[in-house]
Symmetry: C2
């Protein structure tokens, strides 16, 4: 297997030959094609496989990855080998070069049609911090937390690709001292740095997916910013959970990194105590050493470590389906906010500013407890690459636009 | 406008000329077509508009209603007039008769591709009953309940059509007296009798839909059984809301009743106190006089009145989008369990049996606190029809199949 591409790849690039994530792009006014970034170039995979009369040409014709993702693990592996050969062996240069263009000229789109979206809550440090902030008089973790990966369904129609402006949501909020709620733009708009898992192979209604079947169903991994309006959320979430505090937008990175690119990043998750019920036991666990980075207006404010997550994506999928719920091609489930044990590893401003008590200072000297209009948040992630090549996820970015006026009844 | 069809319609039929709901059916091994029931017949609308070279032939070609629903209110009105004329005026009999077949011979399918699914909680009586049962030491209604229509996202991939067997879900549950949860089939499997609203016209991300714009966006109405595993739900739902306790299956009736068929059923909702915030005020409210009926193994166990709902579907849509969340063609949102003030008007077994303290007696002498394997639950609904014609919704039915075995990790 080739270790380097004939296309130059800078050490700082997230996209070496060992990565080869999939995305959807357009250039000029052309239609949406499937593309694979390498270094600072992108391969127009839709055109390449079409012109080569590859048997996957139809599945890779765009405008989403869904038809390809539906074909399952053996097909994903086969295409990855084919691509690795073509980008690794200089003999293929004449055949491939006409299908390259500068990545900077590609407009990136939502890479898949989102079926159901589920958000988990699987960082013990995040859940503990939020519990302390939201429920100061109770236990930080609810009694169920160490028995099951807590999750809830989010809104799939408002999953947007990195770069989409985020309009500040309006809604009801009520300060503890107020007698009644007031309506207006959220004053506590926040980020949540998360990792997302995209389902390729569907399952049957009534048939749970076991922990060991994770890699048969999950196609790849992306970054997620689960934008959150803390004031709206705090007022609405008892008893049925987050709704409008989250549903206005969820941003994802444009690249889906194949699971196979992450083999070297696999690791054991933290010890689980008490031992999980049998359906959640993982003999071959899917902890992942991913280093996240959260940047606000150019200042890195946090570096959350994904290997501290208590529940793995394989356990999340097993839990999600243990009641017989089916998964579909295009399902997205996210890890929940990634927060490490140290203050500078927290994945939300709620935690970083401790609900506003300790504002974060940016490089320009300004401070933030929550997001202001015009602020830009960027989340990136890398595998650590000790002894090997670093795999990057690219980034998920979003800038806050002012709230829209809301008409009365 | 014709008041009766040249097709005979029995008084007991839910499908008079004034109804004309839309569904999707197949016969034999043919593909899925759009159909409209009238009396005990069904019009193969896909074939009829195709052969007549109607300009909506493509939108009505099946296999779902989504392309037609996306066209918006003026087009919905135009087709309804066209259909009413053809089924009301006997002069059209020769042209239409070849497209009729007995309704009993049609296999009915999920009529639309479900985009996002949201479930509300808008019956004050239901929320009060559940609050008393689940949180006996607290206030029955949470402080936010009378300020906003509480809701949460459900799983759209597990929305199934009436008649689909419901496999008993397995999951974690923990009795209050137990120290740790156990895993196994739900022992408290329940129904929730609800009314569902199906979005046709999409909205733009960032642009709320006002209360007054309800009829521009909502295509029609169906019945929903939001199957619920109370033991799974009770253990998991704090702090992020219902998840596996609900996500295994949600059944819908096969017919989408157009809003226009329900004009005569509109009514004022109960007085709201305190007055809702401006974005929830409704000058021209969308309360609906619908009489639901819940049947368990042939015994009518409840008759929930929909006109007792505190929040209307127009308010639910305004709330759902007030933060800028968009709606798509195929979005389904459900009212929440419909329960009236009287015990025999409760829309769930949890309430009817008061969490098992007062089991329901069926006509065969057996009793039920929750659903047993083999039980069949049927929900029907009618407009009252005083001074006019009754509009029926047909039914949403489901039979409980035994739990499947679950593999270990």
């Amino acid at each position: 297997v080739a270790l380097t591409s004939w296309i130059p790849v800078a050490d700082s690039s997230p996209f070496p030959l060992q990565n080869l994530p999939y995305g959807v792009f357009s250039a000029g006014h052309h239609r949406r094609h499937v593309g694979v970034p390498i270094g600072d170039q992108i391969v127009d995979l839709t055109r390449l496989v079409h012109d080569e009369r590859h048997d996957l040409a139809e599945a890779l014709s765009g405008p989403t990855l869904n038809p390809f993702m539906a074909l399952g693990r053996p097909t994903w592996t086969r295409l990855r080998r084919w691509l690795t050969e073509r980008l690794g062996d200089e003999a293929h240069r004449p055949a491939v070069e006409p299908y390259l263009m500068p990545l900077a000229e590609a407009e990136l789109h939502l890479p898949f049609a989102v079926a159901d979206y589920v958000d988990f809550y699987s960082s013990e440090h995040h859940a503990t911090n939020v519990g302390r902030i939201f429920r100061p008089d109770g236990a930080a973790l609810t009694p169920n937390w160490k028995h099951l990966p807590i999750g809830y369904h989010g809104r799939s129609s408002t999953v947007v690709v990195s770069g989409t402006p985020i309009v500040r949501p309006s809604g009801q909020h009520k300060a503890p001292a107020d007698a009644t709620p007031t309506f207006g733009p959220s004053q506590r708009l926040d980020i949540e740095a998360e990792v997302g898992f995209v389902v390729g192979t569907p399952s049957q209604l009534g048939e749970p997916v076991g922990v060991a079947d994770f890699a048969e169903h999950v196609f790849g991994v992306c970054l997620v910013n689960d934008w959150s309006a803390r004031d709206i959320q705090a007022w609405e979430y008892v008893p049925l959970g987050p709704f409008l505090g989250k549903s206005f937008a969820t941003s994802v990175s444009p690249w889906i990194v194949p699971l196979e690119a992450l083999e070297a990043a696999r690791c054991d998750p933290p010890p689980r105590d008490p031992a999980p019920l049998p359906y959640l036991r993982d003999a071959d666990p899917w902890g992942l050493r991913l280093e996240l980075e959260v940047e606000l207006n150019g200042t890195v404010v946090s570096r959350p470590p994904f290997d501290t997550m208590y529940w793995t994506p394989a356990q999340q999928l097993a839990h999600l389906t243990v009641n017989g719920a089916s998964v579909r091609t295009g399902d997205l489930y996210a890890s929940g906010t990634v927060s490490g044990p140290r203050p500078e590893q927290r994945g939300s401003l709620l935690e970083l500013s401790w609900s506003g008590a300790e504002p974060v200072t940016l490089d320009d000297g300004s401070t933030r407890s929550f997001l202001e209009d015009g602020d830009t948040a960027v989340i990136r992630a890398w595998t650590p690459g000790d002894g090997g090549v670093r795999i990057g996820f690219g980034e998920v970015a979003g800038t806050i636009a002012p709230a829209h006026p809301v008409r009365e009844g």
